[in-house]
């Protein structure tokens, strides 16, 4: 990262961690309970979250929030902690004009222009006298905020330039995902030798799952204090790369690193569609950046396709 001379505030790409930790927290207390005479009494943890405003949400991350919405709020059972945080959130998206080396939102259809879901969406225009912003208003709450911000009706030329800069960004993506037919590619190549190849490199560290803005898996732990009379249940982020993730009496279903990488990638790009009606990848590139051995899912997919029968 380096500071530019032009005063641009958003000339960076998606940050090292997404907004996920604020909405789908790494550690959530679900309830606690006290032993009573013969039984116990449970107290549900009522969500009492702070209200957040997220400034600078990239289009890929905006889509990732929508993807998690579907997982955690779209089914029969709604995650109350997530919902409370999500409903209170005010989102200021910033369209991308400076894509990075590991970005491929265009391939995944998630950027560089923000899709629905924002309260406000900025496009940064940088001139000699500093940055200015063309603002798209997405909601009434967004309009109410803008009423207090020094602003005027955007000039047609500024809007045109803003749209053009975002369009131009689409041609400068650092990575490309051969996105067509991904779902079938995953389903039809579960026995590909490519999985052995990636397993030679993958450390099963789980970094990719921790930084991925859509990964949602959790485990729960039940504990007591030393008296044994006070119990708590906590929900913690978990990773499908963890050996115990698939624990069953009698052994772990996914004992090999190969099967765990395969689970991650085929879920993200394939079976997510079956389960939640969309892809689980938004093309933010974080998993590529954070992988300690440089595994790049776009390259793995290209290899899978090249080696497919």
């Amino acid at each position: 990262m380096h500071r530019r001379g032009d005063g641009a505030a958003f000339a960076h790409t998606a940050g090292p961690q997404s907004w996920k930790p604020f909405l789908h927290r790494p550690r959530v207390k679900l309830w606690d309970a006290d032993r009573t005479g013969e039984g116990f009494e449970v107290r549900d943890q009522a969500p009492d979250p702070p209200r957040y405003a997220f400034l600078g949400v990239r289009p890929c991350d905006l889509r990732a929030i929508a993807v998690q919405d579907r997982v955690l709020m779209g089914g029969r059972d709604v995650d109350p902690d997530y919902r409370a945080r999500r409903q209170g959130a005010f989102i200021i998206a910033v369209n991308c004009t400076e894509p990075g080396e590991t970005c491929f939102c265009v391939s995944m259809g998630t950027g560089p222009e923000a899709g629905p879901g924002y309260d406000l969406a900025f496009t940064e225009l940088v001139d000699d006298d500093g940055p200015r912003y063309v603002v798209d208003i997405g909601t009434e709450a967004g309009a109410a905020v803008m009423a207090d911000v020094p602003s005027g009706a955007a000039a047609g030329a500024d809007v045109e330039r803003a749209r053009a800069e975002v369009r131009a960004a689409a041609d400068r993506m650092g990575r490309e995902m051969p996105a067509l037919g991904l779902r079938d590619l995953m389903a039809e190549n579960l026995d590909s030798p490519r999985w052995d190849d990636v397993a030679e490199r993958c450390l099963s560290c789980g970094n990719c799952t921790m930084v991925c803005p859509t990964c949602f898996c959790t485990k729960v732990t039940d504990t007591t204090d030393l008296t044994g009379d006070h119990a708590e249940r906590w929900q913690l982020w978990d990773s499908c790369f963890d050996l115990d993730f698939s624990h069953l009496h009698g052994g772990n279903v996914r004992a090999s690193a190969k099967s765990r990488y395969r689970q991650w990638l085929t879920h993200k790009l394939g079976t997510w569609h079956d389960q939640f009606g969309s892809s689980g990848c938004v093309g933010c590139g974080r998993c590529v950046v954070w992988c300690p051995v440089g595994i790049d899912l776009t390259a793995e997919v290209a290899a899978l396709r090249a080696e497919a029968p």
């Binding site: 013969e38 449970v42 089914g75 504990t223 007591t224 069953l248 009496h249 279903v253």
Partner: protein, 266 residues
Amino acid sequence: MAPVPYRVVAKRAETAETVTLTLAPVGAAIPEPEPGQFTMMYAFGIGEVPISVSRTRPVLEQTIRAVGAVTGALCRAEAGQVIGLRGPFGTGWGVDEARGRDLVLAAGGIGLAPLRPAILRALARRDDYGRVAVLIGARTPGDLLFEDELETWRARGAQVEVTVDRPAPGWTGHVGLITALAGSADVDPSRAAAYVCGPEIMMRLTAQALAGLGTHPGRIRVSLERSMRCGIGWCGHCQLGPLLICRDGPVVPYESAVPLMAVKEL
């Protein structure tokens, strides 16, 4: 996510390591489960695990084999003790929609527990079904669940066949794999619905045998098991390919389970 307190009102030892608990709500109750559904059972301070319902009415029963920390604690629960329940979750066998058909219910080991409510439901509405065959496989005669009930099932019009892997002195029944029993089910395979529950290998072979005899694979159902931490589709642990087993299962058509069970470590 909070467990609902249930009192153990009766406890019956089924085998050396398996007990059946009869449960009654301390206060509010969970909705009545469908045969094939499961609950998340909580042992205070120890943990929570998925356990199928082994009787849905007039009382709730669950049958648990002690294999680890939580199931061990649940099996040690005595009458009067309070445990927690969430649920019911998942898909059922679909006994009601199979009315008019012959039924084959094939169980391996603890797999008889989730099938028992289906058997009881069919026998309670005996006239709604054609012939009913219950095929049971156990390791040894001592591992047989619900042994004292089998006669009642027979008396109420079910064919009940039992086979063991290793007979004990005095055993006069079948010996061998349950797959070999498939042919002895006295039903018309072409109009039968079949429910199979047990270890994956047992389900694969038994379902295959039943399909081979002429039962449409779309009417053969199996019950799948994977790690489950929430039961409500948030935790991601119970994935099997496209399925979230807590939500899309545990009971699934054999047709959709076959390709998934065939992939190692999926």
